[in-house]
């Protein structure tokens, strides 16, 4: 913290150096017309030059230019009509700009020279953002629009198993993604065992994924940062939107809460109703004795208040819960499994000057998983009354404080610096059993406290028209009991403009990760356990270099305007990544009924991994036909001393080819068509190829005193042998069949008097491909013509989803 203060003093002291006479500063906020929603990433620039900046997460911008009589300043953002202002640049200007959402159908409107943030003009590479409006048009499983699933359609980002929202970025696991919702870390982003993500698209304003060339302001995970921002809430009038789908319904309300329109709120909720629909059926089946079901819900809330031009306060929160329950009356059992995240963020924006913007955040995040089991016997039939209750829980809780500064000394420099400290509290497992026969029994693995901190500074520097550089350094510090780690993380991204619209880029980033996820299922089970770095488990570290080309096609491009192409190659190494040891599983580590408590550290093993590949993205964010084409060619290998005999192997999600095609077509004002097609090489799995009987040495038998009266089979020196499987020479040498799927959807929009409604019909897996979920060897009995039956073992593929049709009704008012 002290070094951070020094840094701040240093920077604050240097302010006068850059505040040269003869310059003026234009600063302010860019918002959406009609809702006053702050817009993130709006381009603010002088047309015809490369002088410009973009708005930050709160819609703020600051641009310092040489003083002059007048200049044109343009504001443009994808999906909005651009605004050009003629400004008198003789004194500093405070300016608030409103952008009107554009009509995508009338392409003539979009003729300003830069409508979107052009990929060839930013130093940043390996970043993906998808407009929320586009996410809402892409076909979704059971009509539930899911941001994480849309990100899976991007090159360099892969899904795990069928239907899962787990994200694998450039050879990294789902634990290596930093998922932040309004600055709060979300530890388990899955509902329903990973089939849905916890993010409700209606409450979100933006989503952005960075997979390489990380700016120094991010840290704590190896492979990606997924930053989600909730909408602030409409400041003008009360608005709402919602939907009724096959499995869930949702409703979002937003509006001003003060008459002066300085404060606004947003409330958004979603709940599944499978349990409500199924409850009468289950009850009827069991003569009213059983009541079982599953549901999840989530709730987003946000409020903000504008205390004037210099101060703004935001309070936002998320609460989500999954619950499975089963009650059986005759047997007196009551079992429940629940899990969920809760996050809260309080933020204060303060403007020290037109050039120095600050934000202070206090953040809370909690993930909890619990099992409850109650059993009661009423003592009928001669047995005595008894009751047993079991409570098991595990989780992680964070309290965090964060300070960020954005400093815009000149158009050539945008400096960000700040610090964050997180107090983690890990509860690997806590078990309480109460019983009428035995007494209360508690078995707690002691909660572990740890502190993770980071200090960073980064500068986006434009030395001349051609070069853009984002250089930075992050210092990360982690301490838990006696161990502490202090690690520098240098970051560098740069781009060189070869000619207008074409840039070459390169980046380097070192990342450290101090929290680990124990999970070997590859699907988002709630039992996945977050654990800290300890004296025995070292922090994970990655180094990544990426190079690429970014091309923005001109308006003369035959397919239309707004097309962009990026081609990137990367090489990434990962140290101290962890995996379960062979034979270990979460059942062993987490089993609440296990008599012998097993330390999780005894069941994990550390190793290294490397991944390299190439990614191509051809994208168009707006227009009558929008969407993208993505292709990834990649290799990922792991090497662990204790796995596969120490030889390198392909991890489960190594994927040679990954293709995605996403198309959205506005057929007319009333009809939107969309489809996606994905293809991915099959997972690398370990499947037995042979069985044999393995005899172990029995050191005892020879010396045993033998009793003649008990007939026993004695195998001298050997035990009785166990049937074991031979998995072949190498781990994961079996390749599952390739995954491919086609989804299609059609939306009918209609503007009614007071509201707008959309009917959506979609087909998931339209050509009914049987994609593998897992494989199993099974024995089947066959009887031949003579009546002899023989057993035969075959390899069976299990799929989860055939073609799944769905429809939903959505409305907006």
């Amino acid at each position: 913290m002290r070094s951070f203060i020094y840094l701040f003093v240093l920077l604050a002291g240097s302010v006068p150096v850059w505040s040269q006479p003869g310059t003026v500063t234009i600063s302010g906020y860019v918002r959406e017309a009609g809702s006053q929603e702050a817009l993130i990433g709006v381009n603010v620039y002088r047309p015809g030059t490369t002088v410009g900046t973009t708005t930050n997460t709160y819609g703020f911008f600051s641009l310092t230019l040489p003083a002059q009589d007048s200049a044109r300043i343009a504001f443009s953002f994808v999906g909005y009509e651009p605004v050009v202002r003629q400004l008198d640049l003789r004194k500093n200007i405070s300016l608030n700009v409103l952008l009107t959402p554009g009509r995508v159908l009338s392409e003539v409107n979009v003729k300003a020279d830069r409508t979107t943030e052009r990929v060839s003009e930013s130093a940043q590479m390996s970043r993906i953002d998808v407009p929320i409006s586009q996410i809402k048009k892409i076909p979704a499983f059971l009509g539930e629009k899911d941001v994480l699933r849309v990100l899976q359609l991007m090159p360099g980002v892969q899904k795990g198993s069928e239907g899962q929202t787990g994200i694998y970025v450039r050879g990294g696991g789902p634990d290596q993604n930093l998922i932040i919702l309004d600055e709060a870390t979300v530890y388990n982003a899955s509902h329903l065992f990973g089939f849905f993500s916890v993010f409700n698209g209606d409450a979100l304003k933006s989503v952005e994924l960075t997979k390489g060339g990380f700016p120094a302001r991010y840290g704590g995970r190896l492979s990606s940062v997924i930053e989600l921002n909730m909408k602030d809430g409409n400041k003008e009038k009360l608005r709402g939107e919602g939907g009724i789908g096959l499995i869930a319904s949702r409703l979002t309300l937003e509006g001003p809460f003060t008459k002066n329109k300085k404060g606004s709120f947003l409330l958004s909720g979603r709940r599944t109703y499978l349990d409500v629909v199924a409850a009468p059926l289950i009850k009827a089946q069991s003569d009213g004795q059983t009541n079982a079901g599953y549901y999840f819900y989530d709730f987003n809330a946000k409020a903000n208040y504008d205390f004037g031009p210099k101060n703004k306060v935001y309070l936002s929160g998320y609460f989500g819960r999954d619950r499975f329950y089963a009650r059986e009356q005759t047997e007196g059992t009551d079992v429940g499994i629940g899990w969920g995240n809760a996050t809260g963020t309080l933020r204060w924006n303060h403007l020290f000057s037109q050039k120095l913007f600050s934000n202070v955040s206090l953040i809370y995040s909690n993930y909890k998983f619990n099992i409850s089991s109650d059993e009661t016997g009423n003592g009928t039939g001669g047995t005595s009354a008894f009751s047993t209750s079991l409570r098991y829980s595990s989780g992680i809780r964070d309290l965090s404080a964060k300070m960020d500064f954005d400093y815009y000394p000149s158009p050539r420099h945008s400096i960000r610096f700040g610090a964050q400290t997180i107090a983690h509290r890990f509860t690997p497992s806590a078990l309480v059993v109460q019983n009428t026969l035995i007494d209360r029994f508690t078995s707690d693995v002691e909660a572990i406290n740890a502190v993770e901190s980071g200090v960073y500074v980064e500068d986006t520097w434009r030395p001349n028209e051609k070069w853009r550089v984002n250089g930075g350094l992050r210092l990360s510090l982690f301490s838990q009991k006696a161990v502490s780690y202090l690690r520098p993380e240098p970051r560098l991204s740069m781009s060189y403009q070869i000619k207008p619209g074409l840039a070459a880029k390169a980046s380097y980033a070192t990342m450290n990760q101090y929290v680990h996820l124990l999970s070997n299922t590859g699907i988002g089970l709630p039992t996945d356990l977050w654990v800290p770095t300890t004296d025995r488990v070292k922090p994970q570290q990655s180094r990544q270099v990426a190079v690429g080309l970014a091309k923005d096609f001109s308006d003369k491009f035959p397919l239309g305007s707004g097309f962009a192409l990026t081609v990137e190659g990367y090489y990434k190494t990962m140290q101290n990544i962890i995996n379960y040891k062979e034979g270990a599983s979460f059942l062993l580590v987490n089993d609440p009924t296990s008599a012998e408590r097993v330390r999780w550290e005894d069941n994990v093993t550390a190793g290294r991994g490397w991944s390299y590949g190439a990614e191509v993205l051809f994208q168009r964010k707006t227009g009558r036909l929008s969407g993208w084409l993505g292709y990834t060619l990649s290799w990922t290998q792991w090497q662990f001393a204790e796995l596969n005999g120490g030889r390198p192997f392909f991890p489960r999600y190594d994927r040679r080819h990954d293709i995605s095609v996403v198309g959205i077509y506005e057929l007319s004002k009333r009809i939107t068509l969309s489809s996606t097609w994905v293809y991915g090489t099959g997972n690398a799995l370990t499947v037995p190829v042979a069985n044999y009987r393995a005899y172990r040495h029995d050191p005892g038998t020879q010396l045993a005193s033998l009793s003649d009266r008990v007939p026993r089979l004695i195998a001298p020196l050997f035990d009785f042998g166990s049937q074991v499987s031979d998995y072949g020479q190498e781990k994961n040498s079996f390749r599952a069949e390739a995954y491919h799927r086609f989804d299609v959807s059609i939306q009918f929009h209609k503007k009614k008097k007071r509201h707008e409604r959309t009917w959506e019909f979609s087909l998931y897996n339209a050509y009914n491909r049987r994609n593998p979920f897992f494989y199993q060897l099974e024995t089947v009995r066959a009887t031949d013509s003579r009546g002899f039956s023989t057993d035969r073992t075959g390899l069976f593929r299990y799929s989860v989803f055939p073609v799944v049709p769905s429809f939903s009704y959505n409305f907006k008012f």
Binding site: N520, Y580, G583, S585, N691, Y692, K731, W759
Partner: protein
Amino acid sequence: MKTISYIVLLLTGFALAGCDSLKQEVSPDRLAKEPEKLVVAFFISPQDTVLAARVGRSSTVLGQNSLSFFNVLNAVVTLSDGSRSVSLTNAVLSDRGFNPYYRATPEQLPIVAGKTYTLTVSVPNGQTVTATCTVPGPVALDNVLIDSTVRTEIGLAYKEYFARLRWRDPAGQINYYRAAGQNDFSFRTSIFTSPNTPPRDTLIRQPGSWFFSNGSTITDVGQDGQEMVSGRGRLAVAFSFQNGQQTISLPQSPLTAHLLNVDVNYYRYHDEVDRQSRAGRNPFAEPVLIQTNIRGGLGCFGAYNKSTLVTELK
């Protein structure tokens, strides 16, 4: 609205199309074809009074199931120390045919610490596998720690006895160990003691091996040259139910503990077979690959040097 009803009709059709099975057998071509392999288990030691090897055959996973795992009875098993060699003969008849093994005596080829031995197994169809291993030196077992705990399970409390082995690891080398032990225990049960008499309550005294729940294999990684203590092994006892009461016998003296200083082949094989067996069919467990030092085959040719300590239970 008409369009919408057509679409609903179409979707229903698709839903019906998706109703066939989600489980399908796939062509076995995707699986690596493994020919049947010879499976050998052979552990040699300077302390043993017999040289015994088991030879079997693996069966491919897919296809017709064989009813039993083949024991190979017609192999030629040869052990050599570089200068001398011995052929192990088929000992199938000596063990009532149940557990056929190949045997020779150490007098025919002494097993000496530090020496490297080569095993060759061949069968008439031409399949031949070989393996080598080096016999480790002795490591003395210093003492055995005995303790007991009272354990409660399903409302019943009972006492369990445990043993831990303690020894000093030789510095400057990687060592692998296995802990083992056994004790006698006795229990009373009714058995037929002769053909024409009714069953009689008889006291039976029987040996049993110690059970190391966390695996009995240990390495000195991170503890080189230090004093080492094994995981705890549960002493053998008998559980019996008589008149609805559970009775548990006490372990009886002598307690015989063995510390085996084993070679890496022995260690890996036992560790991996243990872990694979314990993981069972848990689909979520990380699969355990069993490495082999049998070139062209499966199984293990390992060596150990045994140190034994007999203690009395007070």
